[in-house]
C-alpha cells in the first residue's frame, strides 16, 4: 500500500521510509497538499513543534490534514507527530497544534526526559473504544518500543490509550487517528508488527 509521509524539510523521513519499505509498503514524500492521496498519512517525529507547525501551515498542509482526517482518512502521528495532533504544545513557548485529539502537550514534570525501551502490548479484539483497525489475520502485537522525548501528551477525552507507570501516554487511538509517542520505526520487529496491524 502507498503511505503518504509528510515532508516539510523536518523530521526523520529516511527512517520512516525504511520502516514503510520493511513492511512492504510504498512511501511517498509529501511536500505540498496537492500531492496527498487517500492512503494513510504519516506525520514523522524528531523536530520542534513551533517550527514544524509553521512549515505545515506555510504549505497549507495543516488544514488539508485536518480536512482529510475529518473525512475519515487514516492519520498516524509519531512522537512529535503525535504531540501536534493535540490542541496545544508547551514547546517553543507555546504552539497551537492540529487539534485532532482533545488534549495538550506538556514538558515531562521536573524537566525530565524519557529515553529507552518500554513494553508494548495490544490486542485489537480487546479494544472497546471506536478504533478503525483494518481487518487482519494477526490481531496482536507484543514486544517493546523505543522512546526518546521530553514532552508528553495529556489527553482530555476518552480515547483508547495506554499510560505508562511514569504517567506518560504511550499511544492514543481514536477512530482513524493513531498517535504513538514512541518510535515504531526504531523499534525493530515490534515496529514492523505495529505498522502491519495499523494499515
Amino acid at each position: 500500500m502507498l503511505v503518504n509521509i509528510i515532508d516539510v524539510g523536518l523530521g526523520n523521513i529516511s527512517s520512516i521510509e525504511h520502516w514503510a519499505k520493511n513492511c512492504q509498503h510504498s512511501p511517498k514524500r509529501i511536500t505540498n497538499a496537492s500531492q496527498l492521496t487517500n492512503d494513510p498519512i504519516i506525520i514523522p517525529g524528531v523536530a520542534s513543534a513551533g517550527e514544524y507547525m509553521d512549515r505545515l501551515s506555510g504549505l497549507k498542509l495543516d488544514k488539508e490534514i485536518i480536512r482529510r482526517c475529518q473525512s475519515g482518512q487514516k492519520i498516524i502521528g509519531i512522537c512529535l507527530g503525535f504531540q501536534i495532533m493535540t490542541n496545544y504544545s508547551e514547546e517553543d513557548s507555546g504552539v497551537r497544534c492540529l487539534g485532532l485529539l482533545n488534549g495538550t502537550t506538556k514538558y515531562i514534570r521536573d524537566k525530565k526526559t524519557h529515553n529507552g525501551w518500554e513494553d508494548f502490548k495490544i490486542d485489537t479484539r480487546e479494544v472497546k473504544h471506536d478504533v478503525f483497525f483494518p481487518k487482519k489475520v494477526t490481531k496482536k502485537v507484543d514486544g517493546r518500543v523505543y522512546f526518546n522525548h521530553e514532552l508528553t501528551v495529556e489527553l482530555e477525552e476518552d480515547v483508547y490509550t495506554h499510560i505508562l507507570s511514569s504517567g506518560i501516554a504511550s499511544y492514543a487511538f481514536k477512530n482513524n487517528i493513531f498517535g504513538v509517542q514512541f518510535h515504531p520505526e526504531k523499534s525493530q520487529q515490534t515496529g514492523v508488527d505495529l505498522l502491519n496491524l495499523l494499515i
Partner: protein
C-alpha cells in the same frame, strides 16, 4: 524502563568500521553497512556511531549520507566532532535520534545550545573517555588529543547541558579486562543517566544494573563474541 545494551562503532573517513584498543591501536573491521546490519539483527538497544565529522570534509558528509541508506531499525546516536556545519547536515533529516559530543563540552556551549534547540535536550549525550591516574580522573579532550584534569564545574555544566553521558574506560577499551568502577568516586551526574563502556564483562553489566545505571555500550566484543544481547539485558 529496562537497562539498555548498546554498541559503539567507530567509522573512518572512508566509511569503514574500525576497531580501537585502549585509544592507541586501530584496525579496519569492515564495511559499516554490514556491521550495522549485524548489530540490528542482534537487536542491540542502540548504536553509538563515532565518525570524524569535524570540518565537514566531503568524505565525512558522504559517510553521513550513505548511513541514511542503511535500512536499520535500531536507534542511532552520532558524534565524533559535531560542529555547526555537521549539525546542519545531521538535522536536515535526522536519521540519528541523538548527538554525541566530546570536545565541545570543554569550550563550546554555543554549539551545544544550538544542538539542544534543533534536537531537544533528550538528544544530548556527552562522551566521557577517562583514565584514572594517581587517584585522579583525567578526561579525554578530542580537540587537544589528550587526557586532561577537570574541575567540579565540569560536572555541573555537564548535568545542565546533557541528558546522558557515556563513561568510557579508555584503558580497557577493546579488551575484556573489566570496566573500572572506581571512576564513580569522581563522577557527579545522575546515575540513571549514565552509560558505561570499555572492557565490559558480564559481571560489569550485572553490576551496572544493580547500580541502576541507564545502560552499557559494548565496543568491539559485540562483533566478536557469541553471546545474547537479550540475555545481557
Amino acid at each position: 524502563m529496562s537497562f539498555r545494551i548498546g554498541a559503539t562503532v567507530l567509522i573512518d573517513r572512508n566509511g569503514r568500521a574500525i576497531q580501537s584498543y585502549s585509544f592507541k591501536v586501530k584496525r579496519i573491521l569492515g564495511c559499516i553497512k554490514y556491521v550495522l546490519s549485524f548489530l540490528d539483527a542482534y537487536k542491540v538497544d542502540e548504536i553509538h556511531l563515532i565518525i570524524p565529522l569535524k570540518g565537514r570534509s566531503n568524505r565525512a558528509s558522504k559517510v553521513l549520507l550513505e548511513l541514511k541508506d542503511i535500512p536499520i531499525s535500531t536507534p542511532l546516536s552520532v558524534g565524533g566532532g559535531v560542529d555547526s556545519n555537521s549539525l546542519i547536515e545531521i538535522t536536515r533529516d535526522p536519521y540519528f535520534e541523538r548527538l554525541i559530543f566530546n570536545s565541545a563540552i570543554f569550550d563550546n556551549n554555543e554549539l551545544i545550545e544550538q544542538a539542544i534547540l534543533k534536537m531537544g535536550h533528550q538528544a544530548m549525550i556527552a562522551s566521557i573517555p577517562f583514565i584514572l591516574e594517581k587517584d585522579l580522573i583525567k578526561i579525554y579532550n578530542s580537540k587537544m588529543n589528550k587526557f586532561i584534569d577537570v574541575t567540579e564545574n565540569f560536572w555541573e555544566n555537564l548535568s545542565l547541558m546533557f541528558n546522558e553521558i557515556i563513561l568510557l574506560d579508555a584503558d580497557a577499551e577493546g579488551s575484556k579486562k573489566g570496566f573500572n568502577f572506581e571512576v564513580f568516586r569522581f563522577v557527579n551526574f545522575p546515575m540513571d543517566r549514565i552509560l558505561i563502556s570499555g572492557g565490559l564483562t558480564k559481571l560489569d553489566i550485572n553490576k551496572a544494573k544493580k547500580m541502576k545505571l541507564a545502560g552499557a555500550s559494548l565496543d568491539n566484543i559485540t562483533l566478536h563474541s557469541e553471546f545474547s544481547i537479550k540475555e545481557l539485558r
